[in-house]
Amino acid sequence: MDYSKVKVLIITGFGLNCEKETAAAFSSCGATPEQIHLNDILNGGRSLDEFHILAFIGGFSFGDHLGAGTIFANRIKFRMRDELQKFVASGKLVIGICNGFQTLSRLGLVPALDGHFFEQQAALAHNDSGLFRDDWVYLKANPDSPCVFTKGIDLIRMPIRHGEGKFVAREKEIARIEEKNLVALRYANSDGSVATEFPANPNGSINSIAAICDESGRIFGLMPHPEAFLSPFNDPDWTKKKSEDRLPADGEGKIVFRNAVKFAAKNLF
């Protein structure tokens, strides 16, 4: 199948910084990513209509000032809400990684219970430690989740790098998120059991939630960074795996992007 017709918009600027590896993630799966400055979209030079997948990438938009994702989300909400709403309504895909997830939650694109887009129902709060943390974590996928991006994943490893990644919502919303299987990934121990303690659950997230999606499964937000594990040599254990002759050809994070590109190619043309 020709995946190159799958066009991916990677929004850049204002302190975002994972554009290059996110572009590499999509292009290594055959899609055609473009990195475009938010201003070029706000000024009408480029349009969301041209694309099938929208990526809100990692970084520090506006330095996380006023709370991670706040200023970036507000800029989008006040200046291009209609366009984004149309994009979502047309069945296209959205992924938000780290700062992108924070932005999605501030925009209310996930979990968007009852289809209430642009109404914030969950948040990423400061880590319980009060500190930024860079580490590798295991993630257990929820097999019952409608999430398009995590299909076929059981246990996966990715790096986390954030100071505001503690997933929280009020009890009522948490219950409904669980009930509808909107939790896509949970922090786990190396044996696949759900991690409740630091550092395996690095931020104190409720129910160890690392990633959620909307009810359609097409909008996906996650704190860990699949785009930072494209190469097998990113694996913190790769030298051990190499000495035991069990080093795979690909990094584990690629599957998230491959799932998205495959879905888009199949359903959006």
Binding site: G13, H65, I71, A125, D128, A228, N234
Partner: protein
């Protein structure tokens, strides 16, 4: 209208910031406080309505976590805290959060806020406990919550809060006027000349002041521009800045008479030329990968067909001593601009950091008056570089700390950045830059304020009580990131011919340098964008306000350049043009305020003439008998200079960009420091970059010659240890010295200068012998502090940093042992060299036999070891450093969480060494390797002729076993004990 927007955490969630403050009050101030709450406050003066302000409060607050209101949550008897501390910025201090809020509120109200509408950020801390009184609250406020140099503190008691609302604070700079120029009469006595230098913080010597006096006596053509014979303050400031130690490296360029221990006198024309440059020049004849060295902002070496590598390491010591957070942040964000301003602009790839500090456990009473306790200093330095690096999206590739009580007076803050420079940009070579007369002078980035005025001259002075507070700048990584993104777009469109950063000395320095390319410049300082009114022309010229770059833009490109900048929210301003008149010509409006001959600016500085005398210090090796190896190994692992600093390090991003291959921490639990790091140059790439460093200040106590030799060797063998090769390695030298100029304050100046000469001699000898050219370097020469009648000088400290190309990252090796049954080898000779070792330091001794380096033998070893890694024969590899073989065995075992059984008697060593000497000597050029038994033959064949031995096995038992039949000694140390000692010292600190 004036508003206060208050954002408070909802009570149902944990207030992580308040928890952190509570812990810090306990840990730093040793006070237990019952309750801490915090909230953010934005005060503003803007033309918006009450309803708009309310929308803003609602939209800024995260509705799940916070509540946002306009005004103040008033207290009553039941909810009032005992004390409220408000911390906001002083007037004119960079308020990054306030600036972001300014933009955010603009988005919400639907129009961009104007420059004369203001938003300021502040934090309110609400403290409650019965024992609190105003004095104790002041202590918490001033010694923890705020740095009064840059922040304002207001304290309110419960009674105040119940009675009156909290006054609205708007620290608007209300200056007017500015634009004043003074003439300075230099036809005065010598004493008065020195007075002018001192009062103006010019840091110029009498000889230099006289050279300036003489220049103005003979300067011609000034009357054509309505200038008199007397220099203006602008001219004097430009010269002081251009001639500062910081910019001109006067001590490294000085003529030195060096007397050795035998009384032989050698005349050295300049340490920089005679040793550093000469070695690189000689090596350059034999290699083809040096691209650009010493003259640009950073050194450049080739990487592959498409890319060159750029690397620079800087220090930012004095500002970090005064404002550790802002100073250190400026350190990292500032050094980022070096690669960004090298050639036509390099993309930023990897950061490095390292700090020399007093122990965080220093007794309060040993901290010099007016200086921060090293624990608070360390905390804020880390935080500054963490925020600066993380927000810029640059992973770190090497990070370290070194502790010694002699850094109490002045911390050393090293920050560095590796960049990737495209070999070709349009029709031009990436590393080449040029300027033609007629090109426009353009400045981009942040605006100019009084920040950082006199940074260059001030850093050339020792710290004293009245050090100026404007010497501190606060970096803003986001403004810089936006500017960087813009620069790369402009670069790829070939819109400019030249780019450089505005660092020390500000525009004076950048334009002063740039105009040598065209042969002159004419610039109107009145056009420079200011943060606030009231600046005089000299202040505009030398301000070190951050996040600025200077460009030479051909006039035909200026419209496109400006348009691109505008579309990226980056401010650019045309300030003038480059000329070929030979003059550095500054105007303020119509009026000429400086007219200097470029030649005099750059070559008029009289050379310093100094004396150095080497008298080898006399230390004795301590006698040690009856020590317990097990106890020694365990305590050694917990020593500050060996133990894990993972707690702080994990707060730095090292995975962003997705390029990390060998990470700063290795092993199955990712918790043991790697020898070096390996980073891919591009996502999914095969080629990599190896970074390593060496720093051993304690060796300087015996001989700086061997200190330098050892750190160069350490850097190279660390590269070999992760699978690198001894070819294609470049070095960076960063010297930090105590004042080495003999004076009343520094009676031992001749000795300290001799230490400098000896370090340089070794630098020449060993970089040449190893074929590792220095491509860039820096020096910081006045690292002394005199306070409360006590002088503290740092030990002579050199950081040597190395960078190397790796053809194939799949050949990389880590230090963790991989499986039980693997054989353990030691490669290299162990000698009785415990002088300056951590083992002796643990006994409170220095010792006399400092490790030396046999470069030619080392080179043969490195070639052999790299042949082993290239053939995938090593399961694990590590090179001993501080802590010797004992430390190395322990780290390898801990990293693999497997035991080792070692036969000390088999370790190749000098005759007559005791097990302790063998285990704790820090001899150079050695490795500890584990291999699969089936690879023994191939490995031994490669190592033939070298000093090596198979000395034991990896075992599944969780123990490090160290046996010597000869000495009837046996030690067995459990994994748990080792890990506890290694990890607990700085855990949570």
């Amino acid at each position: 209208m004036e508003y206060r927007i208050e954002i408070s955490p909802l009570p149902e969630w944990k207030d992580a910031r308040a928890e952190k403050i509570k812990n810090q009050i306990r840990n730093f101030l040793k006070l237990d406080i019952a309750d801490v709450k915090t909230r953010d406050v934005y005060t503003m003066s803007a033309g918006i309505s009450q309803a708009q302000a309310e929308t803003a409060a609602r939209e800024i607050a995260n509705p799940v976590l916070q509540k946002g209101i306009v005004g103040e949550t008033r207290f009553n008897e039941s909810n009032a805290c005992d004390w409220l501390v408000r911390v906001g910025f002083r007037q004119g201090v960079t308020d990054n959060v306030g600036r972001s809020a300014h933009e955010a509120i603009g988005d919400i109200v639907g129009r961009k806020l104007r420059d004369d509408e203001y938003v300021f950020s502040s934090v309110e801390y609400m403290l409650s406990d019965a024992w609190l009184d105003r004095k104790k609250v002041e202590h918490i406020a001033k010694d923890l919550l705020a740095n009064e140099l840059i922040e304002n503190v207001s304290i309110f008691s419960k009674a105040d809060l119940l009675k009156n609302p909290i006054p609205l604070e708007l620290p608007i700079v209300r200056e007017s006027g500015g634009g004043n120029v003074k003439e300075i009469d230099l036809e005065v006595s010598d004493g008065e000349l020195l007075d002018i230098s001192k009062k103006g913080i010019l840091a110029l010597t009498l000889e230099e002041m006289k050279a300036i006096q003489d220049y103005f006596r003979r300067a011609e053509g000034r009357e054509n521009f309505k200038l008199g014979k007397k220099p203006t303050d602008v001219e004097l400031e430009v010269l002081a800045q251009t001639w500062s130690e910081h910019c001109k490296h006067k001590i490294f360029s000085a003529e030195i008479d060096y007397e050795d221990e035998k009384g032989n006198i050698e005349n050295i024309k300049s340490c920089f030329d005679t040793y550093i440059k000469k070695s690189t020049r000689e090596i350059s004849k034999k290699i083809d990968w040096l691209v650009s060295v010493f003259h640009d902002n950073a050194g450049v070496i080739s990487f592959n067909d498409k890319l060159d590598l750029v690397y620079k390491v800087e220090t930012h010591n004095s500002p970090s001593a005064l404002d550790p957070y802002g100073g250190a942040m400026t350190g990292i964000v500032g050094v980022n601009r070096d690669p960004m301003g090298t050639g036509l602009g390099a993309n930023l790839l990897i950061n490095v950091w390292g700090y020399c500090l007093g122990s965080p456990f220093t007794d309060e009473k040993d901290v010099p008056e007016g200086l921060f306790h090293p624990r608070r200093l360390r905390d804020n330095i880390h935080r500054g570089v963490i925020d600066g690096g993380n927000q810029s999206g640059i992973p770190y590739g090497a990070g370290w700390e070194y502790f010694d009580e002699r850094y109490l007076g002045k911390p050393l803050v090293y920050c560095g950045t590796v960049g990737l420079l495209p070999r070709k940009i349009g029709k031009n070579k990436g590393f080449e830059k040029s300027i033609k007369p007629g090109d426009l002078i353009v400045m981009s980035g942040g605006r100019i304020g009084k920040d950082g005025i006199h940074g260059a001259t001030f850093s050339s002075e020792e710290l004293h009580k009245d050090s100026p507070n404007q010497a501190v700048q606060i970096g803003d990584p986001i403004t810089q990131k936006k500017m960087g993104d813009f620069i790369y777009e402009a670069r790829d469109k070939s819109l400019y011919r030249f780019v450089t950063d505005n660092g020390a000395g500000g525009l004076s320095s950048s334009i002063g340098e740039m105009c040598t390319y065209s042969g002159g410049c004419r610039m109107d300082l009145k056009k420079a964008p200011l943060k606030y009114a009231g600046l005089d022309p000299w202040e505009i010229l030398v301000s070190e306000a951050q996040e600025r770059m200077s460009f030479a833009v051909p006039p035909e490109n200026i419209e496109e350049f400006k348009k691109l900048a505008e579309s990226r929210d980056v401010e650019v301003t045309v300030l003038g043009e480059f000329t070929d008149t030979g003059k550095f010509h500054m105007l303020y409006g119509e009026k000429t305020v400086a007219l200097l001959d470029i030649e005099f600016m750059h070559d008029g500085l009289p050379q310093l003439k100094l004396k150095a005398k080497w008298v080898p210090p006399k230390h004795k090796d301590p006698a040690f008998k009856g020590r317990n190896i097990k106890d020694d190994v365990v305590s050694l692992l917990g020593r500050l200079n060996i133990c894990s600093n993972e707690f702080k390090s994990r707060q730095y991003d090292h995975e962003v960009k997705g390029l990390s291959v060998i990470k700063p921490f290795a092993g199955i639990c990712r918790d043991v420091t790697s020898d070096a790091t390996v980073t891919m140059a591009e996502p999914l790439g095969k080629e990599g970059i190896i970074l390593s460093y060496g720093i051993l200040p304690r060796y300087s106590d015996i001989d700086t010659y061997h200190m330098m030799a050892s750190i160069i060797d350490l850097c190279i063998r660390r590269i070999i240890a992760v699978g690198g090769k001894p070819e294609h390695i470049a070095g960076l030298d960063n010297f930090c010295w105590p004042d080495p100029v003999k004076s009343e304050k520094t009676p031992d100046g001749e000795y300290k200068l001799a230490q400098l000469v000896r370090a340089n001699k070794a630098l020449y000898d060993y970089t040449k012998a190893f074929g590792v050219p220095c491509i860039s370097g820096k020096d910081s020469m006045k690292n002394d502090s005199t306070r409360g009648g006590r002088k503290i000088s740092i030990p002579p400290t050199v950081l040597f940093s190395a960078i190397s190309r790796m053809d194939d990252v799949s050949k990389a090796v880590t230090l963790d042992v991989k499986r039980p049954g693997d054989s353990v080898y030691v490669i290299g000779q162990t000698r009785k060299e415990l002088g300056g070792s951590e083992y002796f330091a643990m006994m409170g001794a220095v010792g006399c036999h400092v490790p030396v380096v046999d470069a030619s033998l080392a080179m043969v070893t490195y070639k052999a070891v790299s042949e082993i890694t290239q053939n995938n024969l090593a399961s694990s590899l590590h090179t001993p450093a501080i802590g010797g073989l004992a430390g190395a065995f322990a780290k390898k075992a801990m990293a693999g969480r497997l035991g080792l059984e070692i036969d000390i008697d088999k370790i190749p060593c000098e005759s007559g060494m005791s097990p302790e000497e063998i285990l704790f000597s820090e001899s150079n050029s050695r490795f500890v390797m584990t291999i699969k038994p089936e690879n023994e033959k191939s490995v031994e064949k490669i190592l033939k002729g070298l000093s090596f031995a198979k000395i034991g096995f990896v075992i599944s038992k969780q123990e490090l076993i160290l046996n010597s039949v000869v000495a009837c000694s046996q030690a067995s140390i459990s994994m748990t004990e080792m890990i506890k000692s290694y990890k607990s010292t700085l855990d949570g600190i």
